[in-house]
Symmetry: C2
Subunit: 356 residues, 2 copies
């Protein structure tokens, strides 16, 4: 009734367990005759190696853990997709663990990974989590993402500050002067860097600033949009800390009769797939999210495989977002509506995939 073990196979093939192991792992010398007998027994018994046992024996799990704050929305799904792709290619499994809002939970999640994974990718937008990962992971290789530019630890970060500056400069370049910012949640390092970039760029241009609070959600963006629309001297441009909020704000503005971009131009951040599909298409700072995920996983595996090597790769890779101009700031870059698709085609790549 219970699944066959390597001993059952050995017994049946009338060889030692060692030989079975050799045949199955492909390591070590084996006679063709032996191999054949083993394979037959494997077949007959429907034997499948127990990877847990193998892991314990080799102290390698071929699995990496991904610790996320949340699993909502396109940003993270894209990220995981990229990681999964790379993991498959490298023969690794992916174990995901999300919804860790506070450091406490994340901490528990990380400890529970010991003996289960060979390494960890930790997304820690909150300050505490970064240290956390280091202290708790023990000797486990860890790759940090979206944390501040934490020196001395392998990590990948987005140039949030630079992106924010680019966003503001683009708005200014298109003639906007009263530019507001919809900020992300306080305590979130990425949100804070984007806010800082906004403030700096505005100061550099000698323009007054307006900041509305948000929480990275579409709903919070919507609220912010309502506020913007109701302002006495309404802004003529807004830079939202992410696409989600930008989209929420656009909806609110349009509901209030504010025309985008004529009355008010909107810029987001991330370039989630949705950004190119809303109406009007959203100008944003593109991060190739899936690609970043792929890169993260590959680096982690490299880290794992060279574990202990002195030339530890403790670099902090910086991903620079790229400005993608769409109709939400520039009417000339029309949405693909009743118009030639030519101009929009480049800016609005359609994500693929067979989804029911």
């Amino acid at each position: 009734m219970k699944p066959a073990t390597i001993r059952d196979v050995a017994r049946r093939a009338d060889v030692s367990v060692a030989s079975v192991s050799r045949v199955l792992t492909g390591a070590g010398p084996v006679t063709d005759a032996t191999r054949k007998r083993v394979m037959e027994a494997v077949e007959a018994l429907q034997y499948v190696p127990h990877s847990g046992a193998r892991s314990l024996s080799t102290s390698k799990t071929s699995t990496v853990g991904v610790i996320l704050p949340d699993l909502y929305g396109e940003y993270f799904s894209e990220l995981i997709r990229g990681m999964d792709l790379a993991a498959r290619a490298l023969g690794y499994h992916l174990i995901v663990s999300s919804s860790h809002d506070d450091a406490e939970e994340a901490s528990a999640a990380i400890r529970s990974m010991r003996g289960r994974v060979d390494g960890l990718i930790v997304l820690s937008p909150h300050l505490g989590a970064a240290n956390l990962a280091g202290s708790l992971a023990g000797r486990l290789p860890v790759l940090l993402m979206n944390a501040g530019a934490d020196a001395g630890r392998p990590s990948i970060v987005v140039d949030n500050h630079g992106g924010a500056v680019a966003a503001v400069e683009h708005l200014i370049a298109t003639g906007r002067r009263r530019i507001a910012h919809i900020a992300g949640p306080t305590g979130n390092l990425e949100a804070e860097a984007r806010l800082a970039g906004y403030l700096e760029a505005m100061a550099a241009a000698g323009l007054p600033t307006t900041v509305v609070d948000g929480a990275f959600t579409k709903a919070s963006g919507h609220e912010a949009g309502v506020q913007l629309a109701a302002m006495a001297t309404r802004p003529d441009g807004v830079f939202a800390a992410n696409d989600n909020m930008a989209i929420g704000a656009m909806l609110a503005l349009q509901e209030a009769g504010v025309r985008v971009p004529e009355d008010l131009a909107v810029v987001g951040f991330d370039d989630v797939p949705l950004a190119g599909l809303v109406h009007p298409g959203l100008t944003t700072l593109r991060i190739n999210i899936a690609e970043m995920g792929r890169s993260a996983l590959e680096r982690l595996v490299k880290l794992i495989q060279s574990a202990g090597a002195a030339d530890a790769d403790a670099a902090c890779e910086v991903v620079r977002p790229q400005l993608v101009v769409r109709p939400s700031t520039n009417p000339a870059t029309q949405n693909p509506t009743r118009a030639s698709r030519a101009s929009a085609a480049a800016a609005v790549p359609l994500p693929e995939g067979e989804n029911p």
Copy 2:
């Protein structure tokens, strides 16, 4: 240098490993004094139990595997989110494995799960995969999703046929008569059920049918839209086998100068978050995807915990999609643009979540 083991703790606390185990697992009688000594040692050594070893010993991994055909797009990310939520609540981990287009790959993925998980959720939109899962999984509990109504095996399926009929009937009810269908990929059970529903409903109404091929992707929907727009007697309604294609088709139609819904009404399937945000909002058949994922995981865990029980839950749960009417078929249900948000609010819930 290496992480501490239970023996290190035992030595340090000057007790047996058994006692350490008892303290840590909370099982068995222990003196307060002993417990205290153990905890101190644990603290001092930064000891974290090795879950792999524990798994081998208890033959429980507290992990479930999810086998997916692909990880692209909102459908699957929503699904995983629901599963992850339930898994956390039940103390389980989630290991995801995707991009298994053919049965061969899925097969390999499934076997590689042995000894790594306590059960499997298999999404097998292709015929072969379902059987496969059964035969390969051995004594592993398996929950099938999105396979045909496979009797005699625990599963969750969407009532694709019924949904398709509802879609067509809605189009007919709004006065459409030349109703086309954009089909999903052949060989995909869900796509085929939706096609069958369309054909049946049309036949029942005595209307002629038009079927355009698609592949569940936005791009294929776009192509289909181009074809529809170019037809000699253009349809005045179209039912796409999923939202992705419906959205792609809408874009193509609008580019061709066809007005939606005035000239041509569009209905999708799934109600992915995007459906409520495109312009015009897409009428579709709503499946609460995350909820379905949650339900799937909970059922699997129940299956695991009652493993071997005679009253095996081999039921096939049927999820009935619900028609959500939006402007793509009914101009009266306006998009939230320059209009009261009241009517649209119910139909266009904004998904939440903090995403950078």
